[in-house]
Symmetry: C3
Amino acid sequence: MKITANDIAIILDGKIVGNPDKAVSSPSGIEDASEDQITFLGNPKYEKYLVETNAGIIIVPSSITLNNQIKSTLILVEDVYLALAKLFQAFEGGQSMEPGISEKSNLEPGVLISNKAKIDAYVTVEEGAVIGDGVHIKSNVHIGKHVIIGEGSIIHSGARIMDRTEIGRNCIINPNAVIGSEGFGYAFDPKGYYVKIPHMGKVILQDNVEIGSNSTIDRGSMGNTLIMKGVKIDNLVHIAHNVTIGEHTAIAAQTGIAGSTKIGKYCRFGGQTGIVGHLNIADRTEVQAQSGIASSVKEEGSKLFGYPAINYMNYVKSFTVFKKLPELLKKIHRLEKLVDKLQSAKGE
Amino acid sequence: MKITANDIAIILDGKIVGNPDKAVSSPSGIEDASEDQITFLGNPKYEKYLVETNAGIIIVPSSITLNNQIKSTLILVEDVYLALAKLFQAFEGGQSMEPGISEKSNLEPGVLISNKAKIDAYVTVEEGAVIGDGVHIKSNVHIGKHVIIGEGSIIHSGARIMDRTEIGRNCIINPNAVIGSEGFGYAFDPKGYYVKIPHMGKVILQDNVEIGSNSTIDRGSMGNTLIMKGVKIDNLVHIAHNVTIGEHTAIAAQTGIAGSTKIGKYCRFGGQTGIVGHLNIADRTEVQAQSGIASSVKEEGSKLFGYPAINYMNYVKSFTVFKKLPELLKKIHRLEKLVDKLQSAKGE
Amino acid sequence: MKITANDIAIILDGKIVGNPDKAVSSPSGIEDASEDQITFLGNPKYEKYLVETNAGIIIVPSSITLNNQIKSTLILVEDVYLALAKLFQAFEGGQSMEPGISEKSNLEPGVLISNKAKIDAYVTVEEGAVIGDGVHIKSNVHIGKHVIIGEGSIIHSGARIMDRTEIGRNCIINPNAVIGSEGFGYAFDPKGYYVKIPHMGKVILQDNVEIGSNSTIDRGSMGNTLIMKGVKIDNLVHIAHNVTIGEHTAIAAQTGIAGSTKIGKYCRFGGQTGIVGHLNIADRTEVQAQSGIASSVKEEGSKLFGYPAINYMNYVKSFTVFKKLPELLKKIHRLEKLVDKLQSAKGE
């Protein structure tokens, strides 16, 4: 399949600079693209490739400074990444899933599976599970007792959806993610050992949630763990028991959120962030990667950084001085000597 | 099944405030509980819910200040979490596992499986493995060669128990955990590349150990990796080759322990802690989340915090000043000017 | 099988101190070894065990100070770890894999599998995949569409090799690793939600790459994620979309590398390191565990430490003063008082 610059410009509501009949057959990165491929410029750091690339078409931000040496046809759009998302959806819309249940799967009695769903090989679905229209459960997945999976959701290979988990519509669970295992909760018996607190709650994922590969979301002890609609969670993230995450919050890889913390909506967490338990984090909070949040965040739109995390700019300013600390120490020693001299001079 | 406040008070050795005949049928979180449910108050932050909740029964700490407006029946206990653990064990004691081996499993010749064990679908058990009474191996698990699994242990879906691993009694291995893969050990060949050091050791888990979802425990190179009895490990934790972890130590999510380190007993590590290799960590050491331990800890009961980790209170005090560093810098500059002036005045 | 000190010395090009006819049958750690076992001294911290151990043979560095009380036979070598790697390869060279495809696997039409490869139970291989000579694919693995796996590579149990991933020769993919899942890329639609950017790129692993258990490597959005030859990646590491990692770089556990960053060759990253996106990291850069790299590294061989990371020695020096900050604050307050007094004295 070939698609012309003109067709793409119509899909993206973009402006063409170059040959509107230029046709491309596949996408590629700006460094590697060949003449019949389309690429994009998403980051100004890569601007030099605009001249070097062999790509037939490049999607670029409309703010770009044009350059006579660019041999590719350009399509100018306001938001390159949003344009890309739409373009790929147009490309992929043609694909359709063939429903059906693999003979090599293992369905327990008392499960309810839509005839528009697809179950691949070596999948186990335990009693009481309900699987909606258009759901695709890929190889080696475990679906526990009384799990509910809403329309159009995809459960990738090796994911473990534990008992009573509820997954909304159009969710994506990436490979080897574990949703709904028991939380890390123990009581310490005075006899000298930990006693496990069973976890009777469940995990609820609302619609349009995505969970990254190898991430883990624990179920609540008595209440539930709740991931609200539109939340996007990256790989290797840990969400502990009884956490609530508000709508459209995005959490980058390897972040960990301890038990019972409530995160607001439209927050953004950089990778490897840690958040202690029993906190409330206000809406639209933005946290720099690797930060450690140790107290609740009350002000909407706070920007945080550091270990432990404080206001972003304050951390940056303090760290600037931190780098000068050895020099500062010398200054203080010099001042001490001078002041001592001045004092003894005065005393003379 | 309904259970009365009176019955619960007997199980928990608690004191009833309210209606001893009040009956409940299931547990729930304090925010969501309905009249026929039981909940608990585990954290003083939630005290306002004591009045707001619709729960029929609430388990509360005996230290609580009673309040006339609470409509629920209360059961006062000394340790709420320990009471919960006992209560749930009483509830779950009724459940029993039906032993048996799924026709959809794959047992190699020369394995020894108790007829009181249960093996689910798509499990592989390789030669020489020994599986004890009451063990439940869930779907898609891999049991390697010569693995030993003690009585009553549960291996959750997708866990990988690699060759020669020994698991004690009543252990719980959560979904997709990997126990006994080769450690990260290479020799650098002067020709310019790494050569793998094979790992001939194994992983030994003693009794009552729990390993979290997607955690990884590597086997030793020549000696063993040893996790002693009662140790509790959360999700996404990494334990490197030849590490020893002492009895009843608890390790929160995403912590990493580098090779050959020896951790004492009754230690507690907050989430995302890192510990470098070849250290000795004294018994009962407590480490704040995200800390980075770079040297051995000799004193029992040490409390550590920071990156790199130092004494907890010292880090807190230093960080308090860190936040004022820009202000301190100004003070020093002001002092320098004043002292210079005083000096030149003196010189006049 | 028994092997003598003499035979081992020949394999390792080492020098014997003791009985050249001393024979051992298996390896063990220096603390646990018995008389018919071989062990090694890899770390000077363990030197006291040289006298205490019962090991028949110990491989030691040639730089060691000899001691009359050592009862074991010693083999002196220049590099103990390199010697071990060679020794184990000699031991393991005898083992050979029996090729064949398990009847309990699921091969889609249009796959190409060498008759010298081995496919274990509950493996799915999707259409268009190509699997080379000597490849061993262990239980419960998922091989996606058009995946290519080069000669001699081992894919351990539960690994997920997603569509179009290319794996070179003699690679090792450890259990439950996920290679080639979609990256964490979304465009924010002004209507108030994230739209997924599909990932059309792939992951390419060159020869002799090892990926740790439960690690995740995402495929590129338009271009590829590239892991060059000889790279060694530990457990629970996250490599985001479009990252490039140069030859023979080693990355310790739980490290995360954000999107589009390019890492040079022969770099070494300590555990739990974080690297932000769109950076360039020079060859032979060495990074201390838990560091957070927030800007590009231009100088080859840089040594970095800290959060955010700066020059290693500078961080150490600043942190030394950080620990004294409360004391410094007192000094400054004292100086302020003294200077104020001096000033008012002058004004009198």
